[in-house]
C-alpha cells in the first residue's frame, strides 16, 4: 500500500509537471493582462503588456494583444490633438478585440478605409454602459479633443445600472495571491478556461458543485419574456440610461451609439430617436452577410464581422464629416 501511495503520488506530480510543460509549449492557455483602477476610477489593463489570447481547447483562435500606455488593447497610443480627426470607440470585449490580432482591429480597419482618421479604441472586457459613460466623463480633457465618440451597446447586458461604481473588490480579488497562482500555473489557467475545474471552483466558493448538468441547462435556458416583463425591463434600462446621462453627460453633437437593432428594444430605439441621440445600427449589414459574422466558440465578432463593423463606422464618419 505504501508503495502504491508513494508511486501514485510521484506519478501524479510528474504527470502534472509534464502537462504544465506541454500547455506552455503549445500555448494552450490564454493570457489575461492584469487589471487595475486608475486615479480617475477607470478600470483598465496595466499598460505596456503584450501577449496572446487563446480561445477553445485546441487553440482554435489564437491572437496577439498589445496594451498601450493608456491601458487599452491597441496598436496606437492615445494622444488626441486638436488638429487631427480622432474617433473614440468605447466598448466591452467586442471593442477590446482580444479575439483578433491587435494590428487588424476594428480601429485599424476604419483608419485604413478613411485615411486621415485616428481611431482610439477604449475597449475593456466587462465594460457596461455605466463604465463607458464614466470613462468619457473621467477623461473629459482627452475627449474634448476627440471629434467623434462611438459607444458600443449590447442592450441586453449594458444598462443594468444607472451609476458607475468602481469595483475595487473584484480588482483586489483578481490580483490576490490565489489568482496570481492560477495565472502562473498555466495548466490551471487552461483548465479554468475550458471549464474542467468549474465544479471544483464552485465547491471552493461554497456553492453547489453537484448540480446536475441538465438542470443547469434548464436554469440557463432563456425564457421568452412576455410583453409586461419586457416593458418593465425597458423602463428600467431607459431610466438607467437617463441617470447615466444626468451623471456623466452625453455630447449629442459628437456621440453615437453602435448597436444591433435586432437585439435592441424598439422602445429604447424610440427613446433615442425622441431624444435626438444618434445610433449606428449594424443589424442590416450583418443580416445581409452571407458569411458567419461571429466566432465559433463565443459570440465575439470574427474577422468578417469586424470588417462589417468597420465599414459601418467608416460610412458613418464619412457622413458626419460631410
Amino acid at each position: 500500500m505504501k508503495k502504491f501511495i508513494l508511486k501514485s503520488g510521484l506519478y501524479i506530480v510528474l504527470i502534472l509537471l509534464l502537462l504544465e510543460g506541454l500547455v506552455r509549449i503549445f500555448h494552450l492557455y490564454t493570457e489575461d493582462p492584469p487589471r487595475f483602477i486608475d486615479e480617475y476610477g477607470v478600470e483598465k489593463r496595466m499598460p505596456n503588456r503584450k501577449g496572446y489570447a487563446v480561445t477553445g481547447n485546441r487553440n482554435q483562435n489564437f491572437s496577439k494583444f498589445s496594451i498601450n500606455k493608456a491601458g487599452f488593447n491597441s496598436y496606437r497610443e492615445f494622444e488626441p490633438t486638436a488638429d487631427t480627426y480622432e474617433v473614440a470607440l468605447v466598448g466591452d470585449s467586442f471593442i477590446e478585440g482580444f479575439h483578433q490580432d491587435y494590428d487588424t482591429s476594428i480601429g485599424k480597419r476604419v483608419e485604413e478605409k478613411l485615411g486621415d482618421v485616428q481611431v482610439l479604441k477604449y475597449g475593456y472586457a466587462g465594460y457596461d454602459f455605466a463604465n463607458q459613460m464614466h470613462l468619457v466623463h473621467a477623461y473629459a480633457d482627452d475627449f474634448e479633443m476627440i471629434d467623434e465618440i462611438i459607444l458600443y451597446m449590447n442592450y441586453k447586458n449594458d444598462l443594468g445600472r444607472g451609476e458607475y461604481e468602481p469595483n475595487y473588490a473584484r480588482i483586489n480579488m483578481l490580483s490576490s495571491t490565489l489568482f496570481k497562482i492560477r495565472d502562473n500555473i498555466k495548466l490551471l489557467s487552461y483548465g479554468s478556461k475550458i471549464g474542467i475545474v468549474e465544479p471544483l471552483k464552485k465547491l471552493a466558493q461554497g456553492g453547489n458543485a453537484f448540480t446536475d448538468t441538465n438542470d443547469a441547462y434548464k436554469n440557463n435556458a432563456l425564457e421568452e419574456d412576455d410583453e409586461a416583463k419586457q416593458k418593465a425591463k425597458d423602463d428600467e434600462y431607459i431610466d438607467n440610461f437617463r441617470s447615466l446621462i444626468r451623471l456623466y453627460g452625453l455630447d449629442k453633437s459628437k456621440t453615437a451609439i453602435l448597436l444591433d437593432s435586432r437585439t435592441t428594444s424598439v422602445r429604447f430605439l424610440d427613446f433615442l430617436n425622441e431624444k435626438g441621440i444618434r445610433y449606428i445600427d449594424f443589424a442590416e449589414r450583418f443580416r445581409q452577410s452571407n458569411q458567419p459574422t461571429n466566432l465559433i466558440y463565443d459570440l465575439h465578432w470574427n474577422s468578417h464581422g469586424r470588417e462589417l463593423i468597420s465599414e459601418e463606422i467608416a460610412a458613418y464618419i464619412l457622413k458626419q464629416r460631410k
Binding site: S8, L19, N57, E198, P199, L200
Partner: protein, 484 residues
C-alpha cells in the same frame, strides 16, 4: 453518481481509504461498507429506487436458499426459480416495458382500424441499471438451480454482490460464481492489481470523455436532422455513432473494472476490441460479453443451444438476439436491431465459422493484419454499423427514413461540425485511437502494457492531455447504457 463527475472523484478515495485503512480487519464490515457505499452511489441518482435493489436482493437471497433446499424435488426447485424470474422480470417489465406494451397494443388496434384511446399509459421513470442488477440476481438463482453454485448463507455478502457499485448500473453483469466468491473471501491489497486498476480507469476516461463525448454532438446533430443531410453525412453519422457507443460503454466498463480492482475485486471482461472482429460471431464474443454470456447460459443452452437440429438452433439464435434487442430498450427499433444481428449471425453459424476466432485475434502472429483480415474486419464493422441505425434512431420509421436518405440522396457534401469545430481533429482522433487499440489488441485489461516506463509515462500524459483537448463543458456526460 456518474464516474465522470466531481462527486465520484471525492467518493472513490473516501471509500478506498475507509475500505483499506479503517475497516480492513473485518471482512463483514468491509462488505457492509461496500453495501453502504453502493447504496449512496445509486441513491445519488434517486434514493427512492433503492428499494428495488433491496427487494431484488432479498428475493433472490431467499429464493436461492429455497431452490437449494428443494434441489431433490425438481418441481419445487423449479417453482422457486420461476418465483425469481417472474418477480425480477415483473419489476423489469413494469418499469421498463409497461408503456411499451400498452402503446404497442393500442397501435396494433389502430393498424387494424380500431382506434383505442389509451388510458393505461403511466408516467414511469426507468430506474437506472435495473436491467443489469435484475439479470445479475437472477443468474444467482439460475446457478443454484443448475447446481453450479452453493447458495450463500451470508446476507451481507450477497447484498454486496448485488449492489457492488462499480458495476451496479451498467455492468459487467457478473455471475455469482465469479463475484460472490471474491466478496466472501478476504481481499488482499496488491500493488499490481491497484495500479492496473488505475490504468484501466484512465483508459476508460479517455474512451468516454475523448472518444464518446466529443463525437456525441456530431452524432446527435446528424441523427436529429438526417432529412437535411446527404448520404455521405448520414454514413459518417452512423460510423461515428459506432465509435461513440463503443467509447461510451467500453469506457464505462473499463472504469468499473478498474475501480473494482482498487477494492481487490476482479470483474469479468466485457469488451475485447470488438472493432477488430472478423465475423459476426467473433463480434459477439468481443462486444458486451457479460450480456451475451448471460443469454448463452440462461436462455440459449437451456433451449438446446446448438446441440439440437439446425432448425431449432436457428430458432434459438433468433430468440436470444430478439430478447437481447428487447433487453436494450422498450422500443421496436431494438427488436429490429436484434433481428438484424440474428440474420447476420445465422450464416456464420450455418457455415460452422462461429467458433473460428474464439481464441485468437486479428494479426495473431504478425504486426500487421493480412489483406483478408482487413477485408473481414471492414465488412463486419459495416454490418454492425448498419444495424446501429436502428439502435440509434428513436423510431422504426425514422430508421427507415435514415436508410432511405442514404440510398436515395447519394451524394457527398463536406459536413460542418454543429459547433464549428474542425472535423479533421475528430478523424485524426479516431484514426489514432483505432491504431492504438490495434497495438494493444491482445490484452483488453492492460491498455498501457509497455515495458519502458518512459513510454508509459508519456502515454499517461498524452491521454490526460487529450482529455483536456477534447473536453467539452456543454456535453451531457451521462452514459448511453444507463438508459438500458
Amino acid at each position: 453518481m456518474l464516474f465522470n463527475s466531481l462527486e465520484f472523484l471525492l467518493f472513490l478515495p473516501t471509500v478506498f481509504v475507509l475500505y483499506w485503512f479503517v475497516f480492513k480487519k473485518s471482512l463483514r464490515v468491509q462488505n457492509l461498507l461496500v453495501i453502504v457505499a453502493s447504496y449512496i452511489f445509486y441513491g445519488w441518482w434517486d434514493w427512492r429506487f433503492l428499494f428495488l435493489i433491496a427487494f431484488s436482493t432479498l428475493l433472490d437471497f431467499y429464493v436461492g436458499q429455497e431452490i437449494h433446499k428443494h434441489l431433490d424435488d425438481k418441481k419445487k426447485a423449479k417453482f422457486w426459480l420461476w418465483v425469481s424470474v417472474i418477480c425480477n422480470i415483473g419489476l423489469l417489465g413494469f418499469f421498463k416495458y409497461y408503456n411499451f406494451f400498452v402503446d404497442s397494443f393500442v397501435d396494433s388496434f389502430a393498424a387494424a382500424g380500431y382506434q383505442i384511446k389509451s388510458v393505461w399509459t403511466l408516467r414511469i421513470i426507468l430506474p437506472v441499471g435495473i436491467s443489469f442488477y435484475t439479470f445479475q440476481t437472477m443468474s444467482y438463482s439460475f446457478d443454484i438451480y443448475y447446481k453450479k453454485l452453493e447458495p450463500t448463507r451470508n446476507f451481507i455478502s450477497f447484498a454486496a454482490f448485488v449492489a457492488f457499485f462499480p458495476q451496479l448500473v451498467a455492468g459487467p453483469i457478473e455471475r455469482a460464481s465469479n463475484l460472490l466468491g471474491q466478496i466472501n473471501t478476504r481481499r488482499i491489497f496488491t500493488y499490481e492489481q491497484a495500479t492496473s486498476g488505475l490504468k484501466l480507469i484512465l483508459w476508460g476516461f479517455f474512451k468516454k470523455m475523448v472518444i464518446a463525448d466529443s463525437l456525441a454532438p456530431i452524432v446527435d446533430d446528424i441523427f436529429a436532422n438526417y432529412s437535411d443531410y446527404p448520404a455521405s453525412t448520414l454514413i459518417l453519422g452512423v460510423c461515428l455513432f459506432s465509435f461513440q457507443v463503443y467509447g461510451d460503454f467500453s469506457g464505462y466498463t473499463d472504469i468499473a473494472i478498474g475501480t473494482a480492482k482498487l477494492f481487490g475485486i476482479e470483474l469479468m471482461s466485457n469488451f475485447k476490441y470488438p472493432n477488430f472482429s472478423r465475423n459476426m460471431a467473433e463480434y459477439w464474443q468481443r462486444w458486451h460479453i457479460s450480456l451475451s454470456t448471460w443469454f448463452r447460459h440462461y436462455i440459449y443452452i437451456p433451449l438446446g443451444g446448438s446441440r439440437v437440429s439446425k432448425l431449432k438452433s436457428i430458432r434459438n439464435i433468433c430468440v436470444i438476439f430478439l430478447v437481447s434487442g428487447l433487453w436494450h430498450g422498450a422500443n421496436w427499433t431494438f427488436v429490429v436491431w436484434g433481428g438484424i444481428h440474428a440474420l447476420l449471425y445465422i450464416p456464420v453459424f450455418l457455415m460452422g465459422r462461429n467458433r473460428l476466432y474464439s481464441d485468437n485475434v486479428i494479426g495473431e502472429h504478425t504486426w500487421l493484419p493480412s489483406v483478408k483480415e482487413v477485408f473481414q474486419v471492414l465488412l463486419t464493422f459495416i454490418l454492425v454499423t448498419f444495424s446501429r441505425i436502428f439502435f440509434r434512431s428513436p423510431s422504426i420509421s425514422e430508421a427507415f427514413g435514415y436508410i432511405d436518405r442514404i440510398t436515395t440522396d447519394f451524394r457527398y457534401e463536406p459536413y460542418m461540425h454543429p459547433m464549428g469545430y474542425r472535423m479533421l481533429d475528430f478523424f485524426v482522433l479516431i484514426a489514432v485511437f483505432t491504431t492504438y487499440e490495434y497495438l494493444i489488441r491482445k490484452d483488453e485489461r492492460s491498455p498501457f502494457k509497455f515495458k519502458n516506463k518512459f513510454v508509459r509515462l508519456s502515454l499517461y500524459v498524452l491521454v490526460i492531455l487529450s482529455i483536456l483537448l477534447f473536453y467539452d463543458d456543454g456535453v451531457n456526460r451521462s452514459f448511453i447504457y444507463f438508459q438500458f
